[in-house]
């Protein structure tokens, strides 16, 4: 098996996909202004909302204002990532199933999950990712955490794990459209529930904390990476995050295989 050549072929295709989608999106440069404005307004509103929890030296679930900024920053970063890759591609997956266009995707000499997950790239989520990252940096510096290399590396690793989990959640939901054609509204439910990740998970009541660490792993999307960056994470939660990320990839892969076995095209 020439697995390195397969990887190289996939990487080359994806680079072409992305440069062509970027070229197409550049036709709408006014969008950039709109996105930057929208991101700034949303971030201002989120910061204001967060600040309401921090009057007169109060804390939120044991988190200081500056540490909570890191959580919000990671949430913003992941939100930007969703608009850049997840929403355009997985929204397209649902459409392909409805229209029967999935048939042609399956015929391509490329892994169908990779094709469906990475076919387009929308640059309009990038301002949000940049601002999210900036907020992470500001929060980390202001909270007085010494920028340890290990902390930054584990933090980066946990953000990647969070991105992996987030991707799997979206992909699994989109893949179920093979059985339930009109699933797209369910992503609105997912999106609204993920909004919980704007706040440290310890701010929620115990019952919800359990939900957010297991069924809907919001904790591993924002809180655990933030803890890792600030050097506060316990080994157990780091390990749990990594295991969950691994499991979610395997799970999404297995579900996709199963879904394809049930796929009967649009007209049949």
């Amino acid at each position: 098996m020439g697995s390195t050549s397969t990887i190289r072929r996939h990487a080359r295709s994806i680079a072409r996909f992305w440069s062509s989608s970027l070229a197409a999106e550049m036709e709408y440069q006014l969008n950039l202004l709109i996105e930057v404005a929208a991101t700034l307004i949303t971030l201002t509103g989120s910061l204001f909302t967060l600040s309401l929890f921090f009057g007169r030296g109060q804390q939120l679930g044991g988190w200081s204002w500056n540490a909570a900024l890191v959580v919000l920053g990671i949430y913003t970063l992941l939100n930007g990532f969703s608009s850049t890759l997840l929403r355009p591609n997985l929204g397209n997956l649902v459409k392909q199933v409805q229209s029967g266009g999935l048939d042609f995707v399956l015929l391509k000499p490329m892994d169908s999950q990779i094709w469906l997950s990475l076919r387009t790239l929308s640059p309009w989520g990038l301002p949000e990712m940049v601002l999210g990252l900036a907020l992470v940096v500001v929060g980390t510096i202001r909270s007085g955490a010494k920028p340890h290399t290990t902390a930054l590396l584990t933090g980066g690793l946990m953000v990647l794990a969070g991105i992996t989990i987030l991707y799997s959640l979206w992909f699994v939901l989109a893949a179920t459209s093979i059985w339930f054609v009109k699933i797209w509204n369910a992503t609105e439910v997912l999106r609204s529930l993920l909004a919980a990740g704007q706040f440290p998970v310890s701010a929620y009541p115990p019952a919800l904390r359990v939900v957010f660490s297991t069924i809907l792993p919001v904790a591993f999307l924002t809180t655990v990476p933030a803890e890792a960056i600030l050097g506060l994470a316990s080994g157990g939660s780091l390990l749990a995050g990594l295991v969950l990320a691994g499991l979610s990839v395997v799970g999404s892969r297995a579900l996709w295989r199963l879904a394809l076995r049930h796929y009967t095209s649009a007209s049949s």
Binding site: I34, A38, I41, T42, G45, F48, T49, L52, F53, F54, G55, R56, Q58, Q59, L60, G61, K182, N185, A186, E188, V189, R191, S192, L193, A195, A196, F199, A203, Y204, P205, L208
Partner: protein, 281 residues
């Protein structure tokens, strides 16, 4: 079209029946047909209802937050406020810009414009029918909330309840007219729905969905109360949950904004229809 779109329909007068009875008959027929249509989309509407859980999430945060206790608002008051906010939100959600844009892009608008009925009433009926479809789902969710948070159970006084229902319904119309004004821009642009975000963002942060406005700094609160957004959520939610509220000032703001938005919508509608040239034309 020489017939002015918002003038009472001529058919009632021609047959000698009073215009009001005719309008009622048309309204009932519109609502019933839209309700039958919405019932077909029950599953989708349930998912939409579920995607509005944000106020309950905020309740779970505020009930344990030291900042809430410091402001003198008890967990019980929070639970009632946010449950009321959740219910109000369910019945003030507006999506006219998306429906209109789709109808426009798919070319469904032309036959609808030929009917002797201003389009706005069709979309309004669709919204009201969707609310009726939502109703049982919302009631189940309220029951579940009361089961999970028994100390939240309360019965509002009849006056407050009536005022809250009125405020919520007026809030729906405010929201509807606000988005309808943006919808009219579909006559000029193919992607007017992108502008809806700029309505939703101030709505999210100023309506009181994330925190009762009483927790806002005084200056921000006063600014928020000048905008139409608290009328769509904070006012009805406070009325229903028994929180402190200047109802008179609240309803005055609603009246002012309705007086501003109705003529704007009329003007945009007239200018838009004159400009309409069908998709692909």
């Amino acid at each position: 079209m020489s017939q002015h779109p918002l003038r009472p329909l001529p058919s009632g007068r021609r047959s000698g029946r009073p215009a009001l009875a005719s309008a009622l008959r048309i309204g009932r027929a519109l609502f019933n047909s839209q309700y039958a249509l919405m019932l077909e989309f029950r599953a989708e509407i349930l998912l939409w209802a579920l995607s509005g859980l944000l106020p309950l999430l905020m309740f779970s945060l505020w009930s344990g937050a030291p900042a809430g206790a410091a402001a003198g608002i008890s967990p019980q008051a929070f639970s009632r406020y946010f449950l009321a906010a959740f219910v109000v939100r369910q019945f003030t959600v507006v999506w006219v810009v998306y429906a209109f844009e789709e109808d426009n892009l798919l070319g469904r608008l032309s036959p609808l414009l030929l009917q002797p009925l201003p389009l706005i009433w069709r979309y309004a009926a669709a919204h009201l029918a969707e609310q009726a479809t939502r109703f049982p789902f919302v009631m189940v969710m309220v029951a579940l909330f009361f089961w999970a948070v028994p100390e939240a159970v309360w019965i509002p006084s009849p006056t407050r309840l009536l005022l809250a229902l009125l405020a919520a319904h007026l809030g729906f119309w405010l929201n509807f007219l606000l988005q309808h004004a943006i919808t009219m821009l579909c006559f000029w642009s193919e992607r007017a729905s992108a502008l809806e975000r700029f309505l939703f963002m101030p709505y999210l942060f100023l309506s009181g969905m994330l925190a009762p406005l009483d927790l806002y700094p005084e200056a921000v609160r006063r600014f928020a109360l000048l905008t139409p957004f608290p009328s769509m959520l904070y006012l009805p939610a406070q009325l229903a949950s028994g929180g402190p509220i200047d109802a008179l000032a609240g309803f005055r703001t609603v009246a002012v904004w309705l007086a501003v938005l109705i003529p704007i919508n009329l003007l945009l509608w007239r200018a838009g229809v004159r400009r309409y040239a069908a998709m692909g034309g």
